[in-house]
């Protein structure tokens, strides 16, 4: 059976439903009709609020009807419905929500005095309705104005109803035994509606206080501040505060803003962007906002406590986005607003950020974390911020005068300025990739002009405070020239080399972008000019020309327009051919740019990286990164994404890499490890290697492929090997340090051994094509003679060649059945010593000088083995026998560019082998090479006259 309390509840709902229906028809509908088409904005606002109130009243009535229905069902068909299923208990929150919505709409109207305003429009009507209204009011006759009566009529039944709810629910609970399934639900509903009473009370109080506030303000201020949603939470007239350094005669804390009033000035601060900071002084409270920081000074500590609590709770509530229930500051854990918030804000104050909008993460009133900063002129920075400034990786787009052109900076920033590595793609299509400091280019960097620029160029080198300074390479594509040398204040200054497309080389001293003083000019035909030069590389004044044939011309030179070079001087035709090391093979730049200091700007960021202990998050800033092009970036509308290896991943992977490094310390393992490593954000020295490759190509490929630069290139590769070894050691040191160990010192000898034995073979493939080209060019002439020698020797059948080379007959592998098929004498030529020949040919299959020498050693072994088989006993070949045989094998192996190969091997060979086995092997090979170049080998000075048919 149903209890009497349930019946009472039903009755209560019935009464409330009726009251609501009457309220709607008697008050709300007429109110809406009072001024259905208002002309003034104020009227429109009132109408909107009243419509809103009407809607929420309708909804409340609906909900009450639903509740009523469920109670009726319960009452008339108890078996079909348990107590727990009653809407009021089962879904108390739903019922509560309708109440709160109504309260919100009602108080909104109250704040702007909507009832008073609208009721004035049809005062006669309301007077006539007074009686009906009075019936709605449960107690006491209100003799106030129509507005006040309306207010009460809209509020009182609700308050009464909620109060009754609580009472009835409480007594309902008393009728239920402890284990009744509805017990919990009833208690919940009691709590909710009890809280609703407090909520309603606070909402009314706040609304009344806010409404009252408007009267105390000047009309001007009222116009600015008066909005229906504003609720006054604290007024400095109640608890006085003194504001410094801003001046304010009154401070108002609303539920969404903090307002400082000074005369007619209103200073409004969005609470979401307010940080509260208590101070040491018990009467002072610091307020931080994006553009202002100020303090509230109260008369006593209690005042400070109230203000701090109120502001803090108001900030929390504002951030939360809905009213605290039941009252301000209740039921939230923790009760302090978060330090970090994600919001948008437009700056108003004159300055760097004037009118810029920041959307992103904030901390303590400053942009901090990830965010986007947009200026009204289209400038746009997406990236990391730190205490209000760009800091960390960021992409900045700066629009140019023409619509679709941007300067795009993909850089690392520090304290608002570009710092460390960055890529800048300018609207002019110029591109800079390199390092920055304090917002300007500084350190190593590559600047490419626009491809279609009138004078396209590329500068690869060092920068200082935005200007080219130090060692740098500039390629002038228009003139077909490359400058390799020193710079100062954006000009060529100091020792420098100019190489032209035509193969002409100039070396001299530059001043103010021009050549100055004496210099040398090496022409393509190997003639050498020494003297002073004009900008156009022509001799001017005293000078000397050494022609390839050894003639020299000394005198005074001048050049006129289309008259060629003029001179009056002495031609010496008696001199011997010039020393090739001073003309044909002259090497430039060796003393002028010491190899140790040449690419400091590339090495130093890595050193910094090591010095800081390899912080993974800085790897990118220090060692560079790769991002998509700005064009794609512009296309993707929200410049937010940028495909980089994620720095956070690097932190982890750095740890792994260092650990892995420690597991591969044994030479073999290390070699394999270094070979296979191609980690995307990788073993950081791969990045270093890539940059070094870039500089190498910038210097020595294309126009720079000039034989006079071979020595520079060669020493550079070795230096890179040394530096990369040091870099590896540095990483190892950090890895060990992280495990609390130290790296043992290494002696000079072991270092050299590792550099030549481990690093050079590893690096050479990266530099090989450019380097080998230089060797090719340098030894072109000798290689030409050698090729002709080989070609002539190839005309000899095997036996004739052996005879010609004075190989002793008993060493000829002839008619010997014990020989293997490769070694057996055959009428087909090129079959003797085939195994040795084929072995030697493998020398070009590797770039590793050590492996090449091993091939060579095997070749000697093959020769000796063949001879031993021929003789039927072990035979140690003395040089008298070995050299002719070796010449035979070399001539049959027909290796192209052998001179270039030999010299490259020699230069890259570990100096520790000097005088040793490898040196000997290489010298023997070189002597064969030299011998084959000799005239009697090239020209048909064959021993005796022989007929090719004779052999067959």
């Amino acid at each position: 059976m149903c209890s009497s309390e349930e019946t009472d509840l039903l009755r209560l709902e019935e009464v409330f439903s009726t009251t609501l229906a009457r309220t709607i028809s008697l008050i709300l509908q007429p109110l809406l009709l009072a001024d259905p088409e208002p002309s003034d904005p104020c009227g429109k606002e009132c109408l909107r609020l009243l419509q809103q109130l009407h809607e929420s009243a309708q909804r409340l009535w609906d909900v009450t009807e639903q509740s009523l229905l469920s109670l009726r069902q319960r009452l008339y068909h108890p078996p079909s419905m348990s107590l727990e299923a009653v809407l009021l208990l089962n879904n108390a929150d739903y019922v509560l929500q309708a109440h709160m919505e109504y309260i919100k709409s009602y108080t909104d109207c109250l704040v702007v005095q909507a009832f008073q305003k609208v009721s004035k429009k049809r005062s006669e009507f309301w007077r006539s309705q007074r009686k009906a209204l009075r019936q709605l009011l449960s107690s006491g006759s209100s003799e106030g104005s129509v507005g006040t009566t309306l207010c009460q009529a809209l509020r009182q039944p609700l308050a009464h109803h909620v109060q009754k709810y609580v009472l009835l629910l409480l007594s309902l609970r008393d009728t239920l035994d402890e284990h009744h399934p509805a017990q919990q639900l009833v208690m919940h509903a009691v709590t909710l509606f009890g809280n609703l009473q407090s909520f309603m009370q606070q909402a009314l109080d706040q609304a009344m206080a806010t409404q009252a506030l408007w009267h105390s303000l000047s009309s001007r201020l009222r116009d600015v501040l008066c909005t229906p949603t504003h609720r006054l939470l604290q007024d400095s007239q109640d608890i006085p505060v003194v504001v410094t350094p801003l001046r304010a005669e009154r401070v108002l804390l609303f539920d969404d803003t903090l307002v400082l009033l000074q005369g007619h000035n209103v200073h409004t601060f969005d609470l979401k962007l307010v940080w509260v900071d208590p101070s040491q002084d018990k009467c002072v409270l610091h307020i931080l906002t994006p553009e202002d920081e100020f303090s509230f000074c109260t008369r006593d500590p209690q005042g400070q406590v109230v203000w701090q609590w109120k502001v803090t709770q108001a900030v929390c509530q504002a951030l939360c986005g809905k009213k605290d229930f039941p009252v301000l500051g209740s039921g939230r854990e923790p009760s302090v607003p978060p330090e970090c918030r994600c919001l948008a804000y437009t700056f108003h104050r004159e300055g760097r950020l004037y009118q810029a909008t920041y959307d992103g993460e904030w901390s303590r009133a400053k942009p901090h974390g990830k965010g986007t900063l947009k200026w009204p002129d289209g400038r746009n920075h997406v990236g990391d911020f730190y205490q209000g400034l760009e800091h960390g990786f960021g992409i900045c787009l700066v629009p140019q005068a023409s619509e679709d052109k941007f300067d795009c900076y993909k850089c690392h920033w520090r304290e608002g300025r570009m710092c460390e590595y960055g890529i800048c793609e300018y609207g002019t299509d110029e591109v800079y990739k390199g390092y920055f400091q304090a917002g300007v280019r500084h350190g190593f960097g590559v600047l490419d002009s626009a491809p279609q620029a009138p004078q396209p160029f590329r500068y690869t080198g060092h920068w200082e405070r935005g200007q080219r300074s130090g060692y740098g390479i500039e390629e002038d594509r228009d003139r077909g020239e490359r400058y390799i040398g020193m710079w100062q204040a954006d000009q060529r200054h100091g020792p420098g080399i100019v190489v032209t497309q035509a193969g002409v080389c100039y070396q001299g001293t530059f001043q103010g972008d021009k050549m100055a003083g004496p210099g040398i000019l090496l022409c393509e035909d190997d003639s050498l000019y020494e003297g002073t030069f004009t900008r156009e590389l022509t001799l001017l004044g005293k000078g000397k020309v050494t022609f390839p044939n050894g003639f020299t011309l000394e005198g005074s030179f001048c050049s006129g327009t289309d008259k060629g070079l003029y001179t009056q001087g002495v031609l010496d035709t008696t001199a011997l051919p010039p020393n090739p090391s001073s003309t044909r093979k002259r090497q430039l730049g060796l003393g002028a740019f010491p190899v140790e200091s040449r690419w400091q700007g590339v090495y130093s960021p890595f050193r910094d990286f090591l010095r800081l202990g390899c912080p993974g998050e800085l790897q990118e800033a220090l060692l560079g990164f790769h991002v998509q092009s700005s064009r794609e970036l512009r296309k993707s509308q929200e410049y937010l994404c940028c495909e980089r290896s994620h720095p956070k991943d690097c932190v982890g992977s750095m740890e792994d890499i260092l650990k892995e490094l420690l597991q591969h310390r044994k030479p073999k393992a290390l070699q394999q490890y270094l070979r296979k490593v191609r980690h995307p954000c990788g073993l950081s020295w791969i990045q270093l290697l890539q940059t070094l490759m870039l500089t190498f190509q910038a210097t020595y490929s294309g126009i720079g492929a000039n034989k006079h630069l071979q020595a520079m290139a060669q020493e550079e590769v070795k230096q890179h090997a040394r530096e990369l070894w040091a870099a590896y050691r540095g990483l190892l040191k950090v890895a060990l340090l992280r495990q609390g160990q130290t790296l043992e010192e290494e002696s000079m000898e072991t270092r050299d051994l590792q550099v030549h034995g481990l690093l050079l073979p590893l690096l050479l493939p990266s530099f090989y094509s450019e380097l080998f080209t230089l060797y090719l060019l340098l030894h072109e002439r000798e290689d030409g003679l050698y090729s002709r020698g080989i070609a002539n020797l190839s005309l000899f059948p095997d036996t004739k060649l052996l005879e010609f080379l004075d190989v002793q007959k008993h060493l000829w592998p002839l008619k010997d059945l014990r020989l293997t098929s490769n070694q057996r004498y055959s009428l087909v030529r090129d079959k003797c010593f085939l195994s040795a020949t084929e072995c030697l040919q493998k020398i070009i299959t590797t770039v590793d000088p050590r492996e090449k020498l091993e091939v060579l050693e095997k070749t000697y072994g093959e020769i000796e083995a063949t001879v031993s088989r021929v003789l039927g006993r072990e035979y140690k070949l003395p040089m008298d026998d070995l050299l002719p045989l070796l010449i035979y094998v070399v001539s049959r192996a027909r290796i192209q560019h052998l001179g270039a190969e030999i010299h490259l091997i020699r230069d890259m060979m570990d100096p520790i082998h000097t005088g040793g086995l490898h040196d000997f092997l290489l010298t023997a090979l070189e002597s064969c090479y030299e011998h084959i170049q000799k005239e009697d080998m090239r020209l048909h000075h064959l021993p005796g006259h022989w007929d090719a048919r004779e052999l067959w």
């Binding site: 093979k585 040089m879 008298d880 050299l883 002719p884 040793g916 010298t923 030299e930």
Partner: protein
Amino acid sequence: MMAIRELKVCLLGDTGVGKSSIVCRFVQDHFDHNISPTIGASFMTKTVPCGNELHKFLIWDTAGQERFHSLAPMYYRGSAAAVIVYDITKQDSFHTLKKWVKELKEHGPENIVMAIAGNKCDLSDIREVPLKDAKEYAESIGALVVETSAKNAINIEELFQGISRQIPPLDPHENGNSGGIKLGNQSLQAGRRCC
């Protein structure tokens, strides 16, 4: 530990005078603890004590044929010593020796130690070059001289001991701190070829 000093020694002399026989004898007579790689009889190494140093001889053979003479500089550059061999039974080989000495004086490394070996002294009955001539000549050029027999192992040790003695000892400071290996290469590196 005693310092090991690498000394490059170049063998010069006519073909057939027994250059490599001398070296083979020298290298094979004593058991070498370190099995060093060799290239037949053309490149061999042997370590011998000398005072408080160890001398590791890196012995480079050359081809004695006339047509290969012009290649010799590649072999003797950077040598600490040269062993020039002649056949006491062949006057011609002594003439060739003189040519080698002259060439070394003109183009060889500075301060190269020259040792003259008159080989095949076991065949003194068919001798063509008197020992006196050789000694006088050696004295005139400041070179060591011995008559050797690779066949009978006569004076082979002495020849190389003589060379060892002629090699100026190392600076004691340098000896102290380098802990061991390879100090004899200053001359090798200095002798870098110009193209």
